[in-house]
């Protein structure tokens, strides 16, 4: 899978997160802002890298603004953002 444009999903409500992915030329750049960064920052990074690896995404820049989202929420927002960024459009 390839990131060809910018995709974004999620909200900044509590227990949610907003994720923006966009193309990059130098591998993975991951930026994490989180209300629980001290306790879960590393975990969130692992979660994201693992997702990219599984999808075969190598060059990507990601920013997450996390409001204490659980794993299933982060993974959902990530998937939505990546789908958008890889050119997927609903109904096509």
């Amino acid at each position: 899978m390839e990131i060809i444009n910018t995709g974004q999903a999620g909200t900044v409500e509590s227990s949610d997160c907003i994720i923006t992915v966009s193309p990059s030329e130098n591998g993975m750049e991951i930026n994490i802002e989180s209300t629980v960064k001290l306790q879960f920052g590393d975990h969130i990074r692992d979660l994201i890298i693992d997702f990219f690896n599984k999808k075969g995404i190598v060059n990507v820049s990601l920013f997450i603004n996390d409001r204490g989202a659980l794993d299933y929420v982060i993974l959902s927002r990530l998937e939505s953002a990546v789908l958008q960024a890889s050119g997927y459009k609903e109904g096509l």
Partner: protein, 304 residues
């Protein structure tokens, strides 16, 4: 957990059907603390068009992650004639919800189309035919007129749910707390459900903070014959369960029926009678239901 989900749940009652918006994580995972009979995850009005896909993905992962125990989960999908309806089915039925709540159930042909599509998915998923149920929302004038055909259009239909919000919108009238104009539609839905022996679910009560009003409307619905109500806030569960709770008289009567049945069984008598009247098997099922509800509400002790 997944394996169990392939088997259809047999719920005894649907008194409280609680809506939860499909794209709000905080509300999604807090819903599990409450003791509603049925959760209805809303992908329709509660989700803006640009978020439909994100909501579907979120709900899919939510269903994957959590165990719902005895609580039924239905997905309120988008209108089937919108660009989203079939996508909702395709993506979410593999996660084994108990069924869908179908908005704008207007014609037999439309339901048959949905029914066939679901059957196809059932085949692909290798689950029993009829694994997924349908709660048909009756929310338009045409729906009210066609309700009998609608109810007969698929054996998946386990309940008819009257939706006064959309119905009044369709009629171009205002929704008020009294709303005598709803009586005909309510009765039409109710009678059809009763005739088809499926559940009759009353409409939502939208003022979350008016507990008295909710209780009154639920009492009214119960008096007509409705057995459940759609809800928009967890605060509404307990008042609604209390209204649908069996009365002391009903509990005592049910207890007497059950003990009469047991006596008859012990003495190997085929015909059961109570106070000189014949007790048939639907009466016994009803009595069992009444007692289960009473036990769940703590109105009688476990062993009674």
């Amino acid at each position: 957990m997944k394996e169990n989900r392939k088997i259809k749940k047999r719920n005894l009652f649907r008194r409280s059907l609680l809506y939860v918006p499909g794209n709000m994580p905080r509300m999604l995972h807090s819903i599990l603390s409450f003791d509603m009979d049925t959760i209805i995850i809303d992908l329709g009005d509660a989700v803006r068009p640009e978020n439909k896909l994100a909501a579907r993905i979120l709900v899919r992962n939510f269903l994957k992650t959590y165990d719902f125990g005895d609580v039924e989960v239905f997905i309120r999908i988008n209108q089937i004639d919108s660009p989203y309806g079939f996508e909702d089915l395709k993506m979410l039925l593999p996660e084994m919800p108990d069924g869908i709540r179908l908005p704008r159930s207007t014609h037999m042909s439309l339901i048959k189309e949905v029914d066939m599509y679901i059957s196809q998915i059932e085949d692909e998923l290798e689950v029993e035919d009829g694994r997924f149920s349908i709660i048909a929302s009756i929310d338009t004038a045409i729906g009210v007129l066609n309700v009998q055909q609608i109810a007969q259009s698929s054996s998946r239909i386990c309940a008819l749910a009257f939706d006064a919000e959309h119905y009044t919108l369709d009629l171009g009238i205002e929704r008020t707390k009294e709303n005598e104009s709803l009586l005909f539609a309510r009765m039409q839905v109710l009678l059809t459900a009763k005739a088809m022996n499926i559940d009759a679910i009353d409409t939502i009560f939208s003022d979350v903070y008016d507990e008295e009003g909710l209780i009154q409307e639920t009492r009214h619905a119960k008096s007509l014959g409705f057995t459940g109500k759609s809800l928009i806030s967890p605060r509404q569960i307990i008042p609604v369960h209390n209204v649908f709770a069996p009365t002391k008289k009903e509990i005592e009567f049910a207890q007497r029926i059950i003990s009469a049945a047991e006596q008859a069984r012990k003495r190997r008598i085929g015909v059961i009678s109570l106070d000189g009247k014949l007790v048939d098997s639907p009466a016994i099922s009803r009595a069992e239901l009444t007692l289960k509800m009473a036990r769940d509400l703590g109105l009688v002790m476990e062993n009674e």
